[in-house]
Structure formats: structure tokens, C-alpha cells
Assembly symmetry: C2
Homo-oligomer: 346 residues x 2
């Protein structure tokens, strides 16, 4: 009846997620004076007189983004908030308001929804974010969560993806790859459980990395510390897709290349050992594993002194001229081009 059938048909996989976003962006124009920056960064930037509001949004689907057979609803609620607060952090901002929309089927009881909101409220409290709205609708299939977050920052403190200068120092917070390896452990234990329902999952030895997957934290602590040390990152992004992919986003926006050193990549021992146990290369896990929600940013060399003794900020390399590409220097001294593998197939 409707004209939704196509004359010609191009598969979305032919352009990929990032191609689709570029296509959507190319159709938009910003007409309001208050729209300072739109699609293309961790958050949009909206003028609010003496400061700016930051706006970001995410959608999470059961079966795509989470598996309720091993993700407790409380953790899911916490993570939905934390990952969005992280997008505001990535703009050097502080999240203040959030809206959460949920689609649920009659599979979910009121008690289950209470658990989800226990996690949401715990994260709101931890990050001092106010839950100010949302939508509740019925779903024929799984649980869907859509989050929008509003943050604020001063106009002279915004960090875009696009600001990296030449020979800026590339920094990463915390350690990386853990959330990805934690997911592998959870998936393995799920298989064991499905094959033998009497077995209890053995997660004790993997507590840290499973925690990295199930209950990541936004690095608001780093944002506050950077302010105290009077350091504004010249560019910033949060690590949601994985270091390789997110570094490529940052370099593309900043029109630069990068060199990073394998020796400097921060890997937790449990991440390393478990990767080896799974016959995976720990460095590949670090480069391509997503969902760590650490911060990747560049600083001017002038700020090196201020950050060099910070225990949780690691200098992993520096920005280069764009034509040099993005490269990893291995422990053996070889230079290898980095390619992103981070995106989702439709």
C-alpha cells in the first residue's frame, strides 16, 4: 500500500555504520545560532549564554548490545548511564541531566524494572546526574533502552575530536582491553551453563575484567583532575569502539596521523593473562576491544610536566602529519599500520 518499496536497493552494509552517519550528516544544515556543533563528535554543542550545553544519545537493544542471561538488570541500568556520562566527559564536560526511555514486553515484571532503575539511580547518584524524563512504551520483543544526556562546560574548556595539533602527546586513561576480555569470559561461562545447568559459573578469577564489562565507570575523576591541573586536552574521545577505531576517529577529525608504542599501552595483568588463556593476542584485544569507556586525548607538549606523574594517565604516543598514517611501533621496533575493526554490521 505505501511507497516503501525501493526501485533500486543498496544494502546498508555496503556503506557501513560510519558511511551511514556521514550520509545522514551530509543531509543536515544547522540554522539556529545556538547550534554550535552537530553530528560528528561525542556530543552536540549548544549555546547557553555564558556556557554551553552538551547533548549526546545512545540506544541499547537486547540481543545486540546486551545479553540478559548474564547481565544483571541493575548493572545494565548503571552502564547505560555511565556510558552516556562518558560521552559528555569526552567533550571535557560534566553531565547534569539525563532522560531514559525504555521499551518492555510483558516478559518483564515490575520487580525487574525496579532492578533496572536501581542501577540507573545508583549511577545518577554516583555521577550527580538528574533523571528528568523519558518514555515508557511496550515492546513485542526484547528490552530497549534509549538514553539522552545533557552536560555543561565553559566555552573555553570544550575539547572536540578535531583539535589535536602536530606532535601533541596522545594519552589514555586507566587500562584497556579488559571489558572485551571480560565479555569473552561471560560468553564462555554462558556456554558452559547452557551445556550443564548444574554448573555454577566460575567468575571469581576474572573479577576485575568481568567488572570492566558489566559495570564500567565514566572517567569523571580525570575530567575534574584535568581542570584542577589547568590542562585542557587539545582533542578527546571516549573509548567505546576500541582504541584503534576511536584513534582513527580522532585523527580523521583532527586531520592528523599518529604513532603509538606497544610498550606504552596500559594492559592490566588479568586482561593480559586471560587473553593468553583464550589464545588471543593481548595487543589486538587492547587495540580492538571496545567498551572500556576510558578517555583517549591529546595534550600540548607544554602540559607534559603537569601530567607526567599522574598514575592513571599514560602517554602512548604522539600525533603526526596526516600523510604518515596511524602506526603502532611494536616492542621489537617494527612499525605496523593500524586498521580499525570496530564497527557493527547491520
Amino acid at each position: 500500500m505505501s511507497d516503501n518499496k525501493d526501485e533500486s536497493r543498496t544494502e546498508i552494509n555496503e556503506v557501513g555504520e560510519f558511511g551511514l552517519i556521514d550520509r545522514i550528516k551530509s543531509g543536515t544544515t544547522l540554522v539556529n545560532e545556538s547550534s554550535i556543533a552537530g553530528i560528528g563528535d561525542d556530543a552536540a554543542v549548544i549555546d547557553a549564554g555564558d556556557h554551553v550545553k552538551l547533548l549526546s544519545t545512545d540506544m541499547l537493544l537486547e540481543g545486540i548490545h546486551f545479553d540478559l542471561s548474564y547481565v544483571p538488570l541493575k548493572h545494565l541500568g548503571y552502564k547505560a548511564v555511565a556510558s552516556n556520562v562518558s560521552d559528555i566527559a569526552a567533550m571535557n564536560g560534566i553531565a547534569e541531566q539525563i532522560t531514559i526511555s525504555i521499551a518492555i514486553s510483558n516478559r518483564f515484571s515490575l520487580e525487574a524494572i525496579d532492578k533496572l532503575y536501581e542501577g540507573i539511580n545508583a549511577a545518577c547518584k554516583a555521577y550527580k546526574v538528574d533523571l528528568v524524563g523519558g518514555d515508557t512504551v511496550s515492546s513485542q520483543s526484547g528490552l530497549i533502552i534509549s538514553v539522552s544526556v545533557i552536560g555543561r562546560t565553559d566555552k573555553d574548556k570544550i575539547s572536540f575530536r578535531s583539535g589535536a595539533g602536530l606532535k601533541d602527546i596522545i594519552c589514555v586513561t586507566g587500562d584497556i582491553g579488559g571489558a572485551y576480555i571480560g565479555l569473552q569470559v561471560l560468553e564462555r561461562e554462558k556456554q558452559v551453563f547452557l551445556e550443564n545447568k548444574g554448573m555454577s559459573p566460575k567468575l571469581g578469577d576474572y573479577e576485575y575484567i568481568v567488572g570492566r564489562q558489566l559495570k564500567p565507570e565514566a572517567r569523571m575523576d580525570i575530567i575534574h583532575e584535568l581542570r584542577e591541573m589547568d590542562v585542557r586536552p587539545t582533542s578527546m574521545i571516549d573509548l567505546s569502539d576500541g582504541l584503534a577505531s576511536d584513534l582513527m576517529h580522532l585523527c580523521k577529525s583532527s586531520q592528523c596521523g599518529a604513532v603509538i608504542y606497544e610498550d606504552n599501552l596500559p594492559i592490566d595483568k588479568q586482561t593480559y593473562d586471560t587473553a593468553v588463556e583464550f589464545n588471543m593476542d593481548p595487543i589486538t584485544c587492547c587495540l580492538n576491544g571496545g567498551e572500556d569507556y576510558e578517555l583517549l586525548f591529546t595534550i600540548s607538549q607544554d602540559d607534559h610536566e603537569k601530567l607526567k606523574n599522574h598514575p592513571d594517565i599514560h602517554f602512548i604516543g604522539f600525533s603526526e602529519m596526516q600523510e604518515k598514517g596511524i602506526n603502532l611501533v611494536t616492542k621489537g621496533g617494527n612499525t605496523v599500520e593500524i586498521k580499525a575493526q570496530g564497527w557493527v554490521h547491520f
Copy 2:
């Protein structure tokens, strides 16, 4: 494996959608100074120095909120934007930024997504709203659209649901019930089509009401005119659930009752005639049919003079003391209590 199983189980239907929203609201506290108003109105209100930002969000699911067998994707995109702009209008605000997240399966081609965004971009242009962000994810089932919108208004111009005074005049814009009857026509033609694929749908006689369903407009024209006439509605809501349900929301927030007059309800002739054709009571359609996206608001009697000749604003009744309830005076002079039937079952 996870602890998502319930000890006891309460069905969500036992509390209903509005009960669930009350439950979620009761778990929230607003800690940021910038959070002026949270859950419970058409939009949250966020301080922005010399003005306020308004924030609203909606989630739309295929099979629940729309049926792609008769809703063209272009119209769907337009309506997703218009219905959210309407939420900002309902706060006496002007929408300026929007984010759109979509979940799509490989059933959708790039050309189909282009059509959806054609509608989104057309609505953004019509309402002068900037598309500044979103999320694109893959779905295992149908199309999901999540929209968040940011608007602005002056602090002395906000209209909450809660501000109606005693004996304020209740106004409604445009005409009502049409979107609901339009949906009945589309559903009927779908059945005819399914039974006989050779039949073309007969929509020509129902153009107006089908248009009301497929391509509603946010009443930004009214918001601008009210400003020009220096009228601030004492309370306001947009008609998404239906007049009865939305009037009850407004009265509950304002802690008042209401009397409305059947004679004064604005019904288009096509709405009336088609309701009769479907053996439905046109007044019931007016009271309980949703998705008209007209504005329902109250004004002080002092503003009566300014609006009395407006061709598209109808005085349908007045507010009363809360203990008198919400009543309809029929053409025959009888008084009937109004009950909402507007909400969705989970």
C-alpha cells in the same frame, strides 16, 4: 546465571503506564541547580542563565506505534520530528535541536533510510530545528526510532501543566479526533488490500483525516501567535493521548476539575461523517482519539478578549474546583463524568 529472576512477580499491567511513570519519578531526586523541573510535564526544564532549555524524548517502535504497510517512511520521519516539536510547543517553547537514533535490520535498504531522513529533514526545515546527533544501531526485529528534542523559552514564558487557576478558560486548537478516525480508515484499507492484493486503497474521500494521522503538524504557529498577542497560557499540554486523558493530566497537575461542553468541541466534518460511517460516536472519538498534536491550554479570563476572534482557538470549557471532577455537558444538557481511556497496555 544472572540474578534477573524475581522472587515475587508483579505484572506491569497492574500499575499501568502512568503508575510505572509515577514509580520511576518517586525514585528520582534533582540535585543539580540547573534542573528546574523533571519528570511530569511535556518536557524537562533546564536552567541556561537568561533563558531555559526544554528537553523531551519519545521512542517509536514498528508494530506498536506505526505499521509500515501503510505508513510511508517519509511521513514517519516527519511525524517523529513533529510530535517531539509539539512537546516543546506544549511548554510554550520553541524547538531548536533534535537527535534521532534508529535501530534497523538488514530488511531496510539505504534507499529506505534515505526516505526516512527525507521526512526528518523536511520537518527539521519546516520547524527550524537542527538535527545535531543520534545513534545508528542494528536491530534483529523492526524499525525503532528514538527522538530527543531541545527547545528554549524565556523564564517568564514557560507554561507547565500545573498552572491552571480557578475558572480559567480551557482552549483547544484546530480540530480533534481526526487522526484517530484516519487510522481506522488506514486499518480498514489494509484489510481490504490483504484480502485482495489487486485492490487499490480508496483514500481519496478521506484525505484530510488520513493526513491528520500520517502527517500531523506541531502547532508552532499558535505558539508564535500567542506571543504576538502577549498571552501566556496558565497551563498547557499537547494532545497526544486524547482530549480526555490529556485533560486529566492537566487537571491532576493543576489540582483542579473541569467542565467542557460537547457543543464547543471542534470536530471536522470529515471526522464526524467517517466516525458515523464506522458506527462510532464522533464525540467519543474526539475525547479518546489520540495523536492530533493540537494544543490544550488554559488562559486567564483577562485574556478572553485577545483570543475570542481567533479562528483556530476554541473555548471548550473552564476549570473548576478539584472536588467537582472533570465533566462533559452534553448537547442535551446532561452532565457526564469524563474518564480517560487513553493508555497503552504492556
